[in-house]
């Protein structure tokens, strides 16, 4: 019940934050140099379509009415027409969003699990060679420049070894083959996903490892661990059953806080590997002055970040018995 109330409260806060972002974007689109109408109406549009869209977006109305329309349109998914694709933005975004979610959630999960797992070991062997190596590895991968790392992975695994595809998310051999079923197609997508996933996981597991390590070290000083030791439990049980679940909590928080950061990395990764996701679409739309698409992509990415934040917060509250809101 408590948790439920907390969730509701957070949801409310996030709603407000989102509204602020929505509003800032609205203002930015109006104060930027140039004509706001031509920014939202594609050049390839027929006059009728354009007139229709102008009235739908309220671009012929006073500013505050435009704002009302804008908010309403956002919630009904009407972002106008993409200049480049010549079709409704919502369709383009709808195609790309699942791809981003797939890559994003998998990579966050893998890097967090890797971080927790290795961080635990590092803390357990504090001062030993394993610890030093792991900490150093974490520091290095954490600070490596992401696009460069992606290029190096392409060079090694794509060019030298030729193991993995480096482009897109499907290969036409599989999709044009009438005999390939769902499984074959999933395998194909997974195959394409390996390098982008590797890039993201390598970059992000480091910080989780470091956090897990220090949290674990703190936890090991706690009374209940001493008690457990006194009870004569094996080291393994103490480590895995008593210490690590508590130590993993800060990792959960930091996952939440680094989401915005991971989204940045996601956009870069998608671009380098031509992964048809929403981040790449944003980059593409920016270089093409495709304003409606850029606007929608940005808003949706913000929404994804906010909702994931909420999920992480609730997860945290749920996992930590000490915290009750």
């Amino acid at each position: 019940m408590e948790l439920w109330r907390y969730a509701r409260q957070r949801l409310f806060q996030i709603g407000i934050i989102f509204f602020v972002i929505l509003t800032i974007l609205f203002i930015l689109f109006r104060i930027a140099p140039g004509d706001p109408v031509s920014r939202m109406i594609g050049p390839e549009m027929t006059t009728e379509d354009a007139a229709h869209l102008i009235s739908q977006l309220g671009l012929d109305r006073p500013l505050w009415v435009q704002y009302v329309y804008y908010v309403k349109n956002f919630f009904s998914g009407n972002f106008g027409h993409s200049f480049h694709y010549g079709r409704p933005v919502i369709e383009v975004i709808g195609d790309r969003l699942p791809n981003t979610m797939l890559l994003f959630t998998t990579s966050v999960m893998i890097s967090a699990l890797m971080g927790v797992f290795l961080g635990k070991i590092a803390a357990w062997r504090k001062g030993e060679k394993t610890d030093t190596v792991m900490t150093l590895l974490a520091l290095v991968t954490h600070t490596v420049f992401l696009p460069w790392m992606a290029l190096i992975l392409i060079w090694i695994f794509g060019y030298r070894l030729g193991w993995f595809p480096i482009n897109g998310m499907i290969s036409e051999e599989v999709w044009l083959n009438p005999t390939s079923g769902f499984f074959a197609k999933s395998v194909d997508v997974a195959h394409h996903m390996i390098l982008p996933l590797l890039t993201l996981s390598l970059i992000y597991f480091g910080s989780y490892l470091l956090i897990m390590r220090s949290a674990m070290l703190e936890t090991l000083k706690e009374d209940y661990i001493l008690t457990a030791r006194a009870k004569g439990l094996t080291e393994k049980v103490i480590r895995n059953k008593h210490a690590s679940p508590n130590a993993a909590l800060p990792v959960v928080t930091s996952v939440g806080l680094s989401l915005a950061f991971s989204i940045n990395g996601g956009a870069l990764t998608e671009t380098v590997f031509s992964w048809p996701g929403i981040g790449r679409e944003l980059v593409f739309s920016v270089s093409n002055n495709d304003y409606p698409l850029a606007q929608a992509a940005f808003l949706l990415i913000s929404a994804v970040v906010l909702v994931s934040n909420l999920v992480v917060d609730i997860l945290y509250a749920y996992l930590d018995p000490r915290i009750r809101y």
């Binding site: 806060q13 934050i17 602020v20 972002i21 974007l25 930015l28 689109f29 930027a32 140099p33 520091l139 290095v140 954490h142 600070t143 490596v144 420049f145 992401l146 696009p147 460069w148 790392m149 290029l151 190096i152 392409i154 060079w155 060019y159 470091l210 956090i211 220090s214 703190e218 800060p250 928080t253 930091s254 806080l257 989401l259 915005a260 950061f261 989204i263 940045n264 956009a267 870069l268 671009t271 981040g279 944003l282 980059v283 739309s285 920016v286 270089s287 002055n289 304003y291 850029a294 606007q295 940005f298 990415i301 913000s302 970040v305 906010l306 934040n309």
Partner: protein
């Protein structure tokens, strides 16, 4: 008269204490092996940035952007004339790399400085004033914190056209203060309860005086610590932006070099071109990061957990 003398003495002892604190800090810092590595790396980059002014003076062909070797019209590997080789137009990669260090420092330090100033001021104000000022400032911080900075810069680039290096610096700074301000606010809250602040207040010091005279000196080391982390963020964002093709087209940054090697098709062929800029960006990030971690240890260890979260 006696009160003035007392003041001078007080001032002197405070100064002494501060110096002592730095010395102690340095002693702790020195013990940190990784911190020393960070400092060494950083010094190398500083040297690179300073050295970047030399090559164009030696010969105009070493101008990083527009200078070309009159005899070389293709990408060549390292040689005596071009220590890292040339790009496909015959521009010297080594002088580009040096110029990149200068850009990285300019971007990193300028934008980190602005964001730290903003973050410190806002954090102090919020913590000290409390009430609705606090709520307002911290909610703003919340909002800005969830925005992915790189994408924000991208969308601004879409709206306002090609951004020059200083607007990029400013935008990064404007979106990178919230983390700092939160920590500074927490610190200010604890300071506020200390007796010396009360004493100052009773003595009739104004809010401004208390903020800048009594609180600021105590939060500055923390701000300085955060500056190192902000520097890495700024350098990375600028590099990523340049890599994607939205950087300032008039500057030769490491991100720009990577973009060139990627887009002109030399990345499989010219490791001498692909590797150095990437290694530099990564190492300068690492060095600032190590510096920050070591400084973290020097400062109050209790803050440490807080620190890693933002």
């Amino acid at each position: 008269m006696p009160s003035r003398k007392k003041k001078i003495l007080e001032e002197r002892s405070r100064r002494w204490r501060r110096m002592e604190r730095w010395a102690q800090g340095w002693a702790i810092y020195k013990k940190n092996f990784l911190g020393r590595i960070g400092l060494v790396l950083l010094s190398i980059f500083v040297l690179m940035a300073l050295a970047s002014f030399i090559p164009p003076l030696v010969d105009p062909m070493y101008k990083p952007m527009s200078g070309v070797d009159p005899e070389i019209t293709a990408s060549t590997g390292p040689s005596f004339r071009h220590w890292l080789g040339t790009d496909f137009m015959g521009r010297d990669l080594f002088s580009q790399l040096l110029a990149g260090a200068r850009v990285a420092f300019t971007v990193g330090i300028a934008s980190a400085f602005v964001s730290i100033v903003l973050g410190t001021l806002i954090g102090m104000t919020a913590g000290y004033m409390g009430g609705w000022t606090d709520t307002l400032l911290m909610r703003t911080a919340d909002i800005i914190m969830v925005m992915p900075t790189l994408l924000v810069v991208l969308i601004l680039a879409a709206l306002f056209g090609q951004l020059n290096i200083w607007s990029i610096v400013l935008i990064i700074a404007l979106f990178r203060w919230p983390g700092v301000s939160r920590v500074i606010r927490a610190q200010t809250l604890t300071l506020k309860e200390r007796p010396f602040i009360d004493a100052a207040r009773v003595a009739g010091a104004s809010h401004l005086r208390i903020l800048f005279r009594h609180i600021m000196p105590n939060v500055l080391p923390l701000s300085f610590l955060y500056m190192t982390f902000r520097v890495t963020a700024a350098i990375n964002i600028e590099a990523a932006l340049a890599f994607l093709g939205f950087g300032d087209p008039g500057t030769v940054s490491w991100g720009m070099m990577l973009q060139w090697v990627w887009k002109t098709g030399y990345m499989f062929k010219a490791p001498y071109w692909l590797l150095p800029p990437g290694i530099c960006i990564s190492l300068i990030t690492l060095s600032f990061y190590l510096l920050g971690r070591a400084m973290d240890e020097v400062l109050d260890p209790r803050l440490r957990k807080e620190g890693e979260r933002y």
